[in-house]
């Protein structure tokens, strides 16, 4: 990962978080919230047998983005995966430190990961977006929807500048994650511009 990794964004150099905006960390929570932690840990195990500690470290490094897993969550998940036949726990290893076990993925576990990786994530049409609601309500009430759209456009562009600056300092994984956010923001902006150009028409529609 790049300088400081994705998790380091908020703490990086001259980056000054602004309370009123969302951050990459929060964005990551959003896009990863539907992702299954058990399936991700199972996928990491497919690389080879691993201790819970190492799985947590790798999960946090690649997918945590400022939201690391708790150890208790890791071990509880590994126990459930073992109970369901997706993994088996190796014998307790106790050398100098605390007791440790290696977990090994089973053929059922491999099949589960294969199935999951091949399934599309449900596209999110955002039909109930707050942005849409604010515009329609403003028009209904005869308020300045264009001012709101300008404010929102400025907020989106500011966020895009932050992400672009972050990309220029980051590594490949940082760039890919930031790109995902940038393309989604760009889609919002295109909707904002499209809507701004049709406000009169929309106002007539919602007031009729």
């Amino acid at each position: 990962m790049g300088e400081g990794g994705i998790r380091g964004l908020a703490a990086a150099g001259n980056y000054q978080p602004r309370r009123q905006f969302y951050y990459l960390r929060e964005y990551s929570w959003g896009i990863l919230s539907g992702m299954s932690v058990p399936l991700t840990l199972l996928g990491l195990l497919e690389r080879g047998p691993s201790h819970g500690y190492d799985l947590k470290r790798d999960y946090d490094a690649y997918f945590g983005q400022g939201r690391p897993l708790r150890y208790s969550q890791v071990y509880a998940t590994l126990s459930r995966l073992a109970r369901d036949g997706k993994t088996v726990a190796g014998p307790v290893e106790q050398e100098a430190g605390p007791e440790r076990r290696r977990y090994i993925i089973t053929s059922d576990g491999v099949a589960e990961v294969d199935k999951w990786l091949g399934e599309p994530v449900p596209p999110d049409p955002d039909l109930q977006s707050e942005l849409f609601t604010k515009v329609v309500l403003a028009l209904m009430l005869g308020k300045r929807a264009d001012s709101y759209l300008d404010t929102q456009r400025a907020a989106h562009l500011r966020r895009m500048r932050e992400l672009t600056s972050f990309k220029q300092r980051g590594g490949t994984l940082d760039v890919l994650l930031a790109d995902h956010a940038l393309y989604r923001l760009e889609a919002d902006l295109r909707w904002i511009d499209h809507t701004a150009a049709r406000l009169d028409q929309l106002a007539r529609a919602v007031r009729s």
């Binding site: 001012s147 300008d150 404010t151 456009r153 400025a154 907020a155 989106h156 562009l157 500011r158 895009m160 500048r161 992400l163 672009t164 220029q168 940038l182 923001l185 760009e186 902006l189 511009d193 150009a197």
Partner: protein, 235 residues
């Protein structure tokens, strides 16, 4: 205080004050004003036909506004003769347009050297200066190719080198990635912003693309021939 003194005090390297310009009966600018500080990268956004390219052409002295003033470094630009504006563009400004616009008969390095040759630099030093840009922009080994032998992204990087080789005070870029795919466009913008920030070059960047504008320090929006600052935008 005179205009020259005022411009020097405010630190604006280029400034448009109340520009209006029509093409026939069609107004393109209607009182557009924009001040750009030295070393700043400003994105000029706006829908098609909003007047953003016309504004850039006025700021660069390519077009003369019907009304209003254009200032550059404490000098009134719009009232200069054609010859003096041409000399200013050649010696103090750099340009990058949407489609490279390289001279097809020249090699890549000759294209890059062109602004220096036109301003009287001898061929040897001009070519040497041009060649220094090739590794900077990831163009090693392409010095002798002609524009037809370059990909779109490579040609645009050659055009960028040509825009910067004379170390201009202001680089005017009009949709510099407009003809490129997203990956090539991103590379051009990465290289452009890195190069200008290292040199303190001021950039006026016209784009309709928010991802390109995100490389700038700030953005303004041109609508109906006027320049607006986005509500809530921070300097």
């Amino acid at each position: 205080m005179t205009g020259i003194e005022k411009s020097a005090v405010t630190g604006n390297v280029v400034e448009a004050r109340g520009l209006s310009l029509s093409f026939g009966s069609t107004p393109a600018l209607r009182g557009a004003s924009l001040a750009v500080r030295r070393g700043e990268v400003v994105a000029v956004m706006g829908p098609s036909g909003s007047g953003k390219s016309t504004l850039l052409h006025c700021l660069a002295g390519i077009l003369v506004p019907g009304e209003g003033e254009v200032w550059f470094g404490g000098q009134r630009l719009d009232s200069l003769s054609d010859d003096r504006r041409s000399a200013l563009r050649r010696d103090r400004f750099g340009f990058v347009f949407q489609s490279g616009q390289l001279v097809p008969e020249l090699t890549a390095e000759e294209n890059v050297a062109l602004p220096l040759l036109l301003s009287g630099t001898r061929r040897g030093p001009a070519m040497a200066a041009a060649r220094r840009w090739f590794p900077v922009l990831g163009l090693d080994g392409l010095e002798r190719r002609r524009s037809g032998e370059l990909s779109g992204g490579q040609a645009q990087r050659v055009a960028l080198a040509r825009g910067l080789v004379a170390e201009p005070e202001v680089l005017f870029a009009d949709e510099p990635t407009g003809a490129l795919d997203s990956v090539s466009g991103e590379l051009v913008m990465d290289l452009l912003t890195t190069a200008v920030r290292e040199r303190g070059t001021t950039v006026v960047l016209v784009t309709h693309d928010a991802r390109v504008a995100a490389y700038a320090d700030r953005e303004v929006v041109v609508r109906d021939g006027k320049v607006g600052t986005l509500t809530g935008a921070q300097p």
